[in-house]
Amino acid sequence: MAVADARAMRPALRLAEADPQADAALLDRIADWCRRFTPLAATDPPDRILMDVSGAAHLFGGEAALLAEAERRLAAQGFAARGAIAPGPALARALARFSRLRHVPERATQAELEAIAARLPVAALDLDATARHRLDRAGLRSLGDLLARPRAPLAARLGSDVMARLDAIACRRREPISPRFEAPDFMAERRFPEGLTRQEDIERTLEGLARELCLLLERHGVGARELEAIFYRVDGAVAHIATGTSRPLRDPETIALLLRERLAVLAEEGLDTGYGYDVLRLGAARVERCDAPQEDLGLGKIDLAAREGEGGGLDDLVDRLGARLGPRRVLRLYPQATHIPELAVALRPASAPAPAMTETVPPAFLRTNGAPARPLRLFERPEPIEAVALTPDGPPLRFRWRRLLHELAAYEGPERIAPQWWSAPADAATRDYFYVEDREGCRFWLFREGLFGHESANPRWFVHGLF
C-alpha cells in the first residue's frame, strides 16, 4: 500500500528507507553468531536462518531448551525472532512462520510428520499469486488437501518444483542445508556462564583447547595445517583468528604460541572484549596426515626441536613470523624462466607449498671481471631520473635521482633487454641497461626505455637497482 494510505491508517507511523544490502549483511552476522550453537548455520534470505542442530542439542539440555535460549538471546540483542525445530529444514521453516507448534520431536514417525504438515496453509509452499488464487478457487486451502490428492494430475498442474517443496515439507525427502562456513573436522570448545574479559584468561583457555584438539588429532593420526579460533561475545559480536602452518602440527605448545602471537596483533589494534567472551571454539580447518615421531622408551619425550635440526627450525620460524606479520610478508624467492628483470624472480609466501622448480639456472650474469652483473637490490618500481646522455646509445653523463646530482665516473653496458615479442603489447619498449658508477663510488643499474628514433623520440631513463 502507499505510504499515504498507511499514514492515514496510523498517523504515528515511523518510516525508514529500505536497504536490502545492509539487511543481508546483518543476516550474515546473525548467522555467524548462531554458529555458537552449531557450526552449520545457513542464511535463507531475506529474513530466515537455518541451523542444523542434529547431535548438538544435548549440550543445551534438549531441543526445546536450545530453541528457548536462541530466542531469548536474540530478543536480548533486539531482534524479534520466531523459531521452530523439526526433523526437516523445510518443515521447520514452514512451522516457524505459519504455525503455533514449535517443536516436533526427533522420533516422530512419518505419519505424524505428515499430519503436522497437513495442518499448514498452502501459503507455506511459496507459490506465486495466480497459482495460489487457482488453488483457492479449487478449494484447496491447506497442505493436507494437497497431500490427499493423487500425485500425477497435481504435478501436471503445479509443476515439479512445487511438488519437490511439498515433499520436503512433508519430510518425505530430506535435503541438507548449505552452511555459510564448512564445519571443521576437529574442534574443541568451551562455554562459560560469564564472559571472559582478561587477556590471560583467554590465553589460558586457548592452551586448554589446544591440548584437547591435539588429543583429537592424535587419535586420528593427523596434524593441523590451518587453525581457526572463534570468540563469541556475550552481546553478539564474533571475532575470528586464523593462522596457517607450513607443516602439520600436533604440539599444543606450538599451537598455543601461534595463536598468542595472532592474539597479540589483534590486541595491539584494540581487541574490544566488551562484556567478555562466553564461547571459545578452536577448530582445525585443514588437516594433513602426520605420523608420530618415534619416542624413546623410558626417557620420556625427546625435545622435537633439537632432533629436527635445520629444516624444522626454519619452518617453525616461518610459522612464527607469519603468525605475527601475516603470511604474505614472509617470502621465499623462486627464479622464473623469463629474461625480464623484474619478473625473473617471484616472491611467494614461504608457507605456501613450493612450486615445482621450473629451471635450474647456473650462476650467470657475471661481468667481465667476474663481479655480478645483476644488482643485489631491486626497486619494486623503477624510479625515473633526469638524465643527460651524450650519444643516443650511450650512458648518461650526469643524472639527477632523488634530488641528488650524480656524475658518471665509470660504466659498463649497454645490455639490451627487449620485451617478450610473443606476449607483450605493441608499444612495449626495449631497455638498454647500464652498470654505472658515479664519482663517489655508488653503483646503479640504470636503463633507458625506448630506442631513440625507433620506438620513441624521447627515451626515458630509470634507476632499477643498486649494487
Partner: protein, 272 residues
C-alpha cells in the same frame, strides 16, 4: 768499481730478473695483517652493526652486510639466511634481488625474506630469527639512532651469542652516528662507498672495478686497542672466493723493460 762490488751487483741483478720472471702470482695480502682477519672471521657469531657514513652510502653498507653474510654461509653447517627488511628501508634501498644473489654466489632457496612494518617489529623478528638457529640474520631497520638503545641491542646480542649465529643489523637512518650510538653489539662498522680513481681529462671512461668499500671499525669488543676508530681502510670483496682484500691489490706486472718513471696514480705495481 771493484771486482767484488760488480759481482754483488750481478747477483743482485740476477735475483731481480728472477723475481720479474716469477711464475704464479704471490698470494695477495689479506686485509688482515692488523687483526681485521679476526674481525672478518666467518665463524664469528654475535651481533654486528653496519652504519653508512653518509645517507648516500646506505647501499654500500647493505652490500658489505651481504658480503659478511656470504662468508658465513660458506661454512658448514649449511644453514639458511633470514633477511628482514623494513618497509621504509625497502622503499629507500629496494628488496633483495634473486638474480643478483645468485650471481654473487648465494642460492636463492636458502633465503627467507621477512617484511616488517615498524622498527619494533624488525627487532622482534630479528630476535626470533636469531633464536631459531638460522646461520645468518640480516636486518635492515629504519630506526633512528635514538630509538635503538642498549636494552634492545642487549637482547639481540644475547640471542645471537646463545644460538651461535651471526646477526647483522643495518641502520641506514643512523648515518654518521657511529660514535654516538650506545649498544651491546660486538662489532660496529661504518661504511662508505669507495670512490673510483680519478680519471684524466679526455681519457675514455673505464669499466667499473670490483666492489670496494671504505671501512672504519668503530667498535670491536674483545679486540680493544687493535683498531683506531678514526682510520679508514679500503677493502675489496671478491665474490668468487668470498674474501676481503686490501686495496690496492698487489698484482705482479708482466716482465718487460721499462724506464724508471714514477707510477701514475692508481696503477698497481708488484712489490719489489
Amino acid at each position: 768499481m771493484s771486482r767484488s762490488g760488480s759481482s754483488e751487483r750481478i747477483v743482485f741483478l740476477r735475483r731481480r730478473i728472477a723475481a720479474l720472471e716469477a711464475v704464479g702470482e704471490p698470494p695477495p695480502a689479506r686485509a688482515g695483517g692488523d687483526g681485521l682477519s679476526r674481525l672478518f672471521d666467518p665463524g664469528r657469531s654475535g651481533l654486528c652493526e653496519a652504519l653508512p657514513a653518509r645517507p648516500t652510502d646506505a647501499a654500500a653498507a647493505a652490500g658489505f652486510a651481504f658480503a659478511l653474510a656470504l662468508r658465513r654461509l660458506r661454512l658448514p653447517p649449511q644453514g639458511g639466511i633470514v633477511w628482514i627488511s623494513e618497509d621504509m628501508a625497502a622503499r629507500e634501498l629496494g628488496l633483495p634481488y634473486g638474480r643478483g644473489l645468485q650471481a654473487a654466489g648465494l642460492p636463492p632457496e636458502r633465503l627467507v625474506l621477512a617484511r616488517t612494518r615498524r622498527p619494533r617489529e624488525t627487532l622482534w623478528a630479528m630476535e626470533e630469527a636469531l633464536r631459531s638457529g638460522a646461520a645468518v640474520v640480516v636486518a635492515e631497520s629504519w630506526a633512528e639512532a635514538s630509538a635503538y638503545d642498549l636494552t634492545a641491542s642487549r637482547r639481540l646480542a644475547l640471542a645471537a651469542r646463545r644460538s651461535g649465529c651471526a646477526g647483522l643489523l643495518l641502520l641506514p637512518r643512523a648515518a654518521g652516528a657511529g660514535q654516538r650510538l650506545a649498544s651491546a653489539a660486538e662489532t660496529r662498522f661504518e661504511i662508505a662507498a669507495c670512490a673510483p680513481p680519478p680519471r684524466a681529462e679526455g681519457a675514455p671512461r673505464p669499466l667499473p672495478g670490483p666492489s670496494a668499500f671504505r671501512l672504519r671499525v668503530v667498535k670491536a669488543r674483545g679486540l680493544v686497542g687493535a683498531f683506531d676508530p678514526q682510520t679508514w681502510r679500503d677493502i675489496v670483496f671478491d665474490h668468487e672466493e668470498a674474501e676481503f682484500h686490501a686495496l690496492p691489490r698487489p698484482v705482479p706486472a708482466a716482465p718487460r723493460d721499462r724506464p724508471a718513471l714514477a707510477p701514475a696514480a692508481g696503477e698497481k705495481r708488484a712489490p719489489v
